[in-house]
Amino acid sequence: MSSIEFVKLEKVYKGLSDFCAVKGVDLQINEGEFVVFVGPSGCGKSTLLRMIAGLEDISGGELYFGDRCVNDLSPKERGIGMVFQSYALYPHMSVFDNMAFGLTLEKGSRETIKEKVEEVARILQIDHLLDRKPKALSGGQRQRVAIGRAIVRQPNVFLFDEPLSNLDASLRVQMRIEITKLHQRLKTTSIYVTHDQVEAMTMADKIVVLNQGRIMQVGSPLQIYNEPANTFVAGFMGSPTMNFIDVEAKDDQLSLRNGQASRSFPMPFHYSGQATLGIRPEHIELQPQADAIPVETRICVVEHLGNETLLYLTTDLCEQPLVVAVSGETSPEIGSALSIYLPLERCHLFDARGDAVRRQGKVTVS
């Protein structure tokens, strides 16, 4: 087990025009932590993981496991275990041989290998499958074998590269819980790459949101949800995505760019200039509230999800329809008018560059 530290880590792909996939990433991962890298495709999260694994050369900066710089060490010397998206099981070997492969290369004795493999197989509940070939396994079983192969060598660091994206939805939930339980049991430092924000929110001790090769925000799942550092994080995490409304702020007053008349509200932010107001669909209220911005809207689309209903509302505040999540089932008439209330408590304000403006304490709308 070890902590990991990134110092100005960079990855440049040399070519006709150099492509910089990872740009100066600094990050501290504590021993035993479960860290999730999340971001859209092409954000550099897999590249970063592969740099930690040693499968990708580091173009600049330093990578430390504990206080040892591992820049020039092979994956084996770094002591990592990795689970691949495609499982990457050796198709011609039995489950036992798949898991034992790394140990046999280390020339361990037959008995200890057998003992270790069987113990891990018991933990993962695949001990009855040891003689089978990968082609005779289901997706979930293959995933367990792939995890077993990574665990059996007792690595310092576990790396998961979108391990659940090939599984169907229900199996994914089940495996997610099992990986979390496994981590609680083994307490090995783990780094998990995914583009699925539900996996990120549910599994992580610490989420690292990446975009275009840079870290956008690092924090606990609830920090990321409640205090997004910028519009990218705010829009990426959360489903349905946060509503954004262009506003103008001046002297602690917020004016909405309403077509007809503009109204101002006192705001709990200290900022002047062009800004973006963000509010999550689940925080918009349909009942009149104190300290809330009332908005007149018209219903354009209704989506029924069973446990909640999503209303898409057109307003003259912004071109995109606002989304409101209402719990339970309601069947409002499409085209009818609806008044909604945006509680200031729940609003986020982002400056012209998209960075979050810090909250100033409680203000009341008179």
Binding site: P75, M82, Y87, A88, Y90, P91, F101, G102, L105, N166
Partner: protein, 275 residues
């Protein structure tokens, strides 16, 4: 009316199949029938059942030795060209280096020369290495000709192996040689069998190099030995023994193909990573 139309279609199709069968099998039929007859000339219908020709093939020349030579040369060629081809294709498919495509195209270009074009150059090489009238000369020249296609076929297959599989092995601590021998070769088994078989057939049937580089009867390979079978007089073609010899040397090939055929199909349907 409709039934009649379908009936005629079926009959025509059957006739076409029959014609094709006769066309492909007839030469082999003649060979087998002729080999079983005593006397001279070739025959269309079996008249008697006589293994005399088979016995005479072995009695009148060191034919058993010739078969052994052929087997030695063919297996040697397969072993050496597979070893070189597997390692070369690993580099060509997996390692990024400057001039990789150029190298692959050069390999392909070399294989386009006809045998005659390289015969004299090869002869010089064989003399230089002191391999004249030695089976080594044949292994050398056959390997030269089987390598280009082996490398190409294996490179294509090697590219088809998911990168994850290789990286999983790297993470497990395998060296490149271990990756080739413990992971890639078992996965590539069908491709190896196919290229090996093609190289084997090429070496087993080759005539021109075999007659040029080998002088003595004891070192000859089968195709040359068959061509050297002579009859009672200068004007007589000993068809019986020639056909008997041909049948004898074709049998190993057919057996090899039959043995490996099932393996090839098995391997191709096994599926590598995902299912």
């Amino acid at each position: 009316m409709k039934a009649l139309k379908r009936r005629t279609g079926q009959v025509l199709f059957a006739l076409a199949v029959l014609a094709l069968l006769i066309y492909t099998i007839f030469p082999f039929y003649i060979a087998i029938v002729t080999s079983l007859q005593g006397g001279e000339g070739s025959f269309y219908l079996p008249q008697d059942f006589d293994f005399g020709n088979y016995v005479s093939v072995f009695r009148e020349q060191p034919f058993f030795l010739n078969i052994l030579n052929s087997a030695l040369v063919s297996f040697g060629t397969v072993a050496i060209s597979l070893l070189i081809a597997v390692t070369a294709s690993y580099a060509l498919a997996r390692v990024h280096f400057r001039g990789r495509t150029t190298l692959l195209l050069t390999v392909l270009g070399v294989s386009m020369f006809p045998q005659v074009a390289v015969l004299s150059g090869m002869f010089e090489l064989v003399r230089l290495l002191g391999l004249y009238n030695n089976l080594g000369s044949l292994v050398l020249s056959y390997t030269v000709f089987s390598l280009p296609f082996s490398v190409w076929i294996l490179t294509t297959f090697m590219r088809g192996i998911p990168k994850d599989l290789e990286e999983a092995a790297i993470v497990d601590g395998a060296t490149p040689w271990q990756i080739i021998t413990r992971i890639f070769m078992p996965v590539l088994w069908p491709a190896l069998v196919t290229t090996g078989l093609l190289a084997f057939i090429g070496a087993w049937n080759e005539f021109m190099f075999a007659i040029t580089f080998i002088l003595s009867n004891e070192q000859r390979t089968v195709p040359v030995a068959i061509s050297m079978i002579s009859g009672g007089s200068q004007y007589e073609m000993p068809w019986g023994p020639i056909m008997a010899a041909s049948v004898i040397v074709t049998v190993p090939l057919i057996l090899l193909v039959l043995v490996f055929q099932r393996k090839i199909v098995e391997g191709l349907t096994a599926g590598a990573v995902k299912g």
